[in-house]
Symmetry: C2
Subunit: 515 residues, 2 copies
């Protein structure tokens, strides 16, 4: 401490040198963002204000230039009137700070405008090469420059909406006392079989073969996760009801508007429940919560104003409105897969592939069900699919469902929505050890567990990469169930955007990982 | 529609078959969780209740068994008194539903207890092999079974705390109108140089060499991200102030309590600011918000009760309390790196490696500064490091800082906390195109951009994997800055847990990726 005493005086001078500006203390009472300015409507002009933003467009007249300014806080632009001699550098794209007065507007289209005294060019822009244009640019073209795309007013509004949905979800689950968890991204559990997973290696390493295992970074083959569900079940055993919103990965070579190689999955798991109705009730309540909370928001209004313009990139505005109304309705229909097959076969629709019990529903079948059972509005649960076409961890159906497939079906559901088909899926999990082992064998999976001691003699290693999952059934596994929902698909559905590639800032799919 | 009419009658019967149990409607007014029961203290016995949970321990007497029940909602146990003839299957670990009466307790240690009439064994447990024991088990040993570890009362409490911090963060940023974003996990931008990144390949593929690029899944080398910052800067340009809590990866072969191969980074980026004080103010306010909001919570109290037991796995309880108090204090000291070097040299501390201007601070230096400048309580900002030891994207210092290193330093900061050293770092970003290019050259990076047309003749591909980042400076880049904070380290710091490996459910580090 003696050294500190020696340096105490200069130290104090130095410590305060960098200032201690409190973020709250420096908050002005004046609006800061473009959104705040546009909703501020004083009857008298207010001098001495400034606005930060990007020049969206400029209309030059002899004595003054009309500048549209945006900053990502709203889809709308703020109009600034700039004297011609102050307009140098105010080119499309430029990042600027405009100083002036906020005054009731004489022009049409806005209640107020900024009369500019001076402009600071914070970041210049070469308008000739600026890649974002006022004229229509296709989503495909914009996707070639994901780093610039968020600067388009519609795109930034869409990403703001995504943020608001996350916050709404967080509130919903917190209110229900569900614990938010982080399931792992790198995993040794290749739960859905090889071929559609990404292999991970320390750079320069070769992918791991069995004989090379101990040389690799993790001493075993490791993949990017395809689902957090198995890990979420372990967490549900410890914590009760849990949820996660986490990146997941599929190395599918599909090139469709509904698939990404990297996407966010919203997954929830309920513990101590034997009742799939409560899992379906949870997802229903969750989506109703989001829709009810956000439908009146400025962001959603801004999105629907653009949707109303009728661009082919977006679903028709009345269709999108119907989606929101449908989510807010209570008691979504629930039918069994077996009944669904009957309904499909009894319909006079000509399906390309006729529905057959024991085979998965095709998109054309799902669409028919969503439109006719949900009456084109509410989502529809289809439950109790044949176990041969569903995952090994799903619990066998019980009780007197009275369907032809009874005993051969599992306690699961798909949630179908109009125009978009499957958006979520869930099930009760097989919590009984023997039944799980039987199901794994039925699905052709290896259940032999081989415990080994590692080189250092210390660690217990599990050779079968699902041993730990089987373990969860050995020492007190209550009945439990949960669901997974494609978060990017949900954003598509709620916004009317036609492809999942535009709901996330940096989409990755087969052949595409720009930036 | 005609087909629908034909099947209408049976359809309706079928649609309702699965019930439409509303999750809210079925919510009982009785407590559900163990935590709720323990805080429910009626003066009269209440019959006809039931509690779900796991048997933590059993003490068998001749006529009755005393069962400690837990369910992950609290670190505490509920005491259940079970008649001996109803106690079959109530073994350690078992998942059970106990039916009975909630009555004021005659015993000590709890105000109420459950007098059990009957027990349902929902998931049996073989107590002989149950791997979690009441006696002390070391964190190292418990880490060999991450799938079971959340069932320990302390671990589930810790993960509950992690969830509460996430929710608190979400509220903080929403209140400040920061947009929550999802930065990508897979990226072609190897922003910190090769060697410490994980390479990603479709399974069965060889790692990509340049000549093999077009054969690979993404047609270019792809890595798991080391930081979301560069992408966050693109989003900040579009959206204004942004944040993300996202997995990041390092393939470092370090085996320390402060490093993981997969960890969560909390990153925020502020747009239109030239003032690093506002970035430091943001992180200060954020941590103060979390500490103030959570310090009184039941979860934090439960954690500190365990900390007070003085186990070596946890930091001393008074130290942890000092951390919380320090975070809630205003105006954390801010000193420059240059002053820090002076202070270290003027001290009479014998450092293993003497501090030298131009070299990075070592842990022993950081610890001295945290203890002496922050007085062992508040965090300390050390700012303006030499640019040669910091990242290429940091903005050169300006103004009359008057330090010997002026002109050779960058606008950056590290946030040091007592006992833990660096917990966060941030900087202003070089937003000027020419200066950024100069800095990249100075750091030995390739700035040559080579645009090519892909095989199909349609796409513009960027060969230099940071071209897009340079691009952000071409068309209106405002001054901006931000920070990154190791989220798992924060959980360590706040909880008193001594290693980052125990703050996340499924930790991954060199050689370890279990489950």
């Amino acid at each position: 401490m003696s050294a500190l005493r020696v340096t105490a005086r200069p130290l104090i001078r130095r410590v305060v040198r960098y200032g201690r500006q409190d973020f709250r203390a420096c908050k002005s009472t004046l609006p800061k963002s473009v959104a705040e300015y546009l909703s501020w409507k004083p009857t008298e002009p207010t001098a001495g204000v400034h606005v930060d933003g990007y020049v969206r467009s400029v209309r030059a007249q002899k004595r003054q230039h009309f500048v549209s300014l945006g900053d990502g806080t709203t889809i709308d632009s703020l109009q600034a009137v700039v004297p011609a001699d102050q307009a140098e550098g105010l080119t499309t794209g430029a990042a600027v700070r405009l100083h002036g007065s906020w005054v009731p507007s004489r022009g049409q289209g806005q209640s107020h405008e900024l009369q500019v005294q001076s402009a600071d060019i914070l970041g210049a822009s070469d308008a000739k090469t600026f890649p974002l244009q006022k004229k229509y640019q296709s989503p495909e073209y914009l996707r070639t420059m994901p780093h610039m795309r968020p600067r388009l007013p519609y795109n930034s509004t869409l990403f703001r909406f995504r943020s608001e949905v996350i916050a709404s979800l967080t509130r919903f689950f917190e209110g229900r006392q569900f614990i938010q968890t982080h399931t792992p991204i790198l995993t040794a559990s290749d739960c859905e079989g090889a071929g559609e997973v990404f292999n991970v290696a320390n750079i320069g390493e070769k992918p791991q073969s069995n004989s090379e295992k101990n040389k690799s970074f993790f001493r075993r083959p490791v993949y990017t996760t395809v689902s957090g569900q198995l890990h979420l079940e372990a967490l549900a055993q410890g914590l009760g009801n849990v949820w996660t919103l986490s990146p997941t990965f599929r190395a599918e070579q599909s090139d469709t508007p509904r698939h990404l190689s990297e996407f966010y999955m919203l997954e929830a798991e309920m513990s101590f429940t034997n009742d799939m109705a409560s899992v379906m009730g949870l997802i229903e309540d969750m989506l109703r919560h989001i829709a009810s909370e956000l439908i009146g928001s400025r962001t959603v209004k801004e999105l629907s104003t653009r949707t109303a313009e009728g661009l082919s990139d977006l679903a028709p505005v009345d269709q999108v409105e119907r989606r929101w109304q449908g989510l807010m309705k209570a008691a979504w229909p629930r039918i069994t897969y077996t009944d669904a097959i009957d309904i499909l076969n009894a319909s006079d629709e000509q399906f390309e592939i006729p529905p057959v019990w024991g085979q998965d529903l095709r998109t054309e079948h799902e669409r028919y069900l969503a439109v006719h059972i949900g009456q084109g509005e509410t989502p529809v649960f289809v439950t109790n699919y044949p176990r041969t076409i569903k995952a090994f961890y799903m619990k066998a159906s019980e009780g007197d469902l009275g369907t032809p497939g009874h005993g051969e079906t599992v306690e699961c559901f798909d949630l179908l929505v109009p125009d978009f088909c499957e958006i979520a899926g869930g099930s009760m999990r097989e919590h009984r050890l023997d039944n799980l082992m039987d199901s794994m064998k039925l699905h052709g999976m290896d259940t032999a567990s081989e415990q080994v001691i590692a080189n250092d003699g210390k660690e217990r290693r599990m050779q079968n990469n699902l041993d730990w999952y089987i373990d969860l059934r050995r020492w007190g596994c209550p009945p439990h169930g949960g669901f997974g929902l494609g978060f990017d698909r949900l954003i598509c559905y709620l916004s009317g955007v036609q492809t999942i590639r535009d709901t996330t800032a940096f989409p990755r799919w087969y052949g595409r990982c720009d930036c």
